[in-house]
């Protein structure tokens, strides 16, 4: 995947990703209209499908609302690259099939508007603007099994059948 970076700081919380005033719906398209609104009110106007969110440490901290990764995915973001992820956001993203990459070096290297090229299977991120390349570790086999099943519910259906 290849896309333009939108860079945020540390501790981006789920209230900023999707403010609670929009949580009276679970429709992905409705949530996508307000993606990142309280971190950057102009984000939805600037972002294009296939773009990439880049942030510092502890991305997605706060509430357990799955509406946060749903809003990011439905807004067409290809991936989130961060220094680290808050644990509930991490689980939610894996469970709904939003690609996420924890790579502090790549996150620190990227500036707003940089062109990123990511090969998830190979674990490689190249910043085409700075020319720097980064390797990120693969997920553990347990998490990989959920991803390969097509998300947690597909994985669980497999478990129920066994």
């Amino acid at each position: 995947m290849r896309g333009k970076a939108h860079v945020f700081g540390n501790d981006v919380n789920t209230d900023e990703i999707i403010p609670a005033r929009y949580l009276n719906t679970i429709e992905p398209a409705a949530l996508a209209k307000h993606c990142m609104e309280d971190a950057d009110a102009e984000f939805v106007k600037k972002a294009r499908p296939g773009d990439i969110i880049v942030a510092g440490e502890n991305f997605g901290c706060g509430s357990s609302r799955e509406h946060a990764p749903i809003a990011i995915k439905a807004a067409g973001m290809a991936c989130v690259v961060a220094g680290s992820f808050a644990r509930i956001f991490f689980r939610n993203a894996i469970n709904i099939g939003l690609p996420i990459i924890a790579c502090p070096e790549a996150a620190a290297d990227a500036s707003d508007g940089d062109e990123l090229d990511i090969d998830l299977a190979a674990g490689r991120l190249k910043n085409l603007t700075t020319g720097n390349s980064f390797a990120f570790p693969p997920f553990t086999s347990e998490i990989q099994a959920i991803i390969e099943a097509g998300g947690l519910m597909a994985f669980v259906k497999g478990q129920v059948r066994k």
């Binding site: 609670a20 005033r21 009276n24 679970i26 309280d38 509430s63 609302r65």
Partner: protein, 421 residues
């Protein structure tokens, strides 16, 4: 080998002799929890996967507490999704308005969760139940759907961090002050993915309401869970209310911790978390020039009976300052009824405060007390993120019920001793 209380509970729920940090386990869940924000997505996912029945209708708890009494038509529809699902599945743990309370106050109070349990909740403050000696962790909606389907959850066994509190608490220093101080020391990602274990003589002397408020905010340090080993206070609390048999665990001597802290809190004074993160902690006395527009006393952190008792003690015979709105939210109907019986509610009304039915409402900027642009609130809740209680350019300070009530009286952030001696 020596294990922490957290490792023991997870091992016992995954059919293993031992659980080590980093292990992935498929753990049996005692109670699965969802609310009117998170459960509708879980219910949709369950249906999409073609799963018709929950794994055990006595172990799924649904609490419509966030946007209820319904704040608008869309919220009413979400609450109806819960109501219809609970009825269709024959769930034994669904509470309608009138019996419903803020989930993390309601479940311990009703004896639904207890010592030794493994609880998975689609709400980040599920970690509250660690105060009872349970392993309890927040997840999202799809995780909840999976648990509702099979009664099990994938977990990575967390490393533990131990926080030992020694010395003597000064007057007006509560569990809320201890946890805000802790978050201020370690930071909002200082316990990322870990279990926070609170111990020491100060914790042993802490009432259950304060313990619940401490474990409630473990997530604000990034933790997976917070926990306090059960003791006489725990046994007294669960007696006569717990639905199932309690199982009491304790950490072994020699159990391994990723980090250990020992703090003598004898010098600690009431503290406040300033905007916009819960780790931006300062002494209340140092913030006396911060003027406030609204005070909120309530939430899953501090809406319990002893919280209202403290507020009533300070507001008794005093008036909420001119131009300040003081909103009080008893967390459950039982708490509200007891506060009524003891005269607290009359004290609040006499002081010029307003008393709301149980709801999460204002804590997450849902309803019942939204802030306008530029307004400042002091709340006993758990998050002060940008725009948390309303307009993106409003501000939230977090504190104990004592600081909140004292500040309501003066209209600025106030050490309780300044008002009540």
């Amino acid at each position: 080998m020596a294990m922490t209380i957290t490792e023991k509970i997870i091992a016992a729920h995954s059919g293993r002799e031992a659980a080590r940090p980093g292990d992935f386990v498929f753990a049996r869940v005692d109670i699965a929890l969802g609310n009117d924000i998170t459960a509708p997505i879980a219910i949709r996912e369950l249906a999409a996967a073609g799963i018709e029945r929950v794994w055990d209708r006595t172990r799924v708890a649904l609490v419509p507490d966030h946007f209820t009494p319904a704040k608008d038509i869309a919220s009413a529809e979400q609450a109806k999704v819960l109501r219809d699902f609970a009825r269709a599945q024959g769930l034994t743990h669904y509470w309608e308005i009138g019996r419903m309370g803020v989930e993390h106050a309601l479940l311990p109070e009703q004896g639904v969760v207890g010592p030794g349990d493994l609880v998975i909740g689609a709400d980040s403050h599920t970690c509250t139940y660690g105060a009872l000696g349970a392993f309890a962790a927040g997840v999202g909606s799809t995780d909840l759907a999976a648990v509702m389907a099979i009664g099990k959850a994938w977990l990575r066994v967390p490393e533990s961090m131990k926080f030992t509190f020694t010395g003597r608490r000064r007057p007006w220093v509560s569990g809320k002050d201890l946890i805000l101080y802790t978050i201020g020391e370690v930071g909002v990602s200082g316990a990322l993915y870990r279990a926070m274990e609170f111990a020491g003589p100060v914790i042993e002397g802490l009432p259950m309401d304060d313990r619940l408020s401490m474990c409630n905010m473990a997530i604000e340090a990034g933790a997976k869970s917070g926990i306090i080993a059960p003791d006489a206070v725990t046994r007294q609390y669960v007696r006569g209310r717990l639905e199932r048999e309690a199982v009491y665990y304790a950490s072994d001597p020699g159990a391994a911790y990723a980090r250990q802290f020992e703090w003598d809190v004898s010098g600690l004074e009431p503290v406040v978390a300033c905007p916009n993160l819960p780790d931006n902690v300062k002494p209340a006395a140092a913030l006396s020039d911060v003027r406030i527009d609204q005070v909120v006393i309530g939430s899953c952190t501090n809406g319990r009976l002893s919280d209202l008792e403290t507020a009533a003690k300070i507001l008794n015979g005093r008036r909420v300052a001119e131009g300040v709105r003081c909103l009080i939210f008893p967390a459950t109907p039982a708490i509200e009824r007891e506060a009524l019986r003891r005269g607290y509610l009359e004290t609040f009304l006499d002081a010029g405060a307003v008393v709301s039915p149980p709801t999460c409402g204002p804590c997450l900027g849902g309803h019942m007390g939204i802030l306008a642009e530029g307004e400042v609130a002091l709340a006993t809740t758990n998050r002060n993120f940008t725009g948390r209680m309303g307009h993106p350019r409003s501000q939230v300070y977090l504190a104990s019920p004592a600081v909140a009530a004292a500040s309501a009286v003066t209209g600025r952030i106030t050490h309780p001793a300044e008002v009540a001696g």
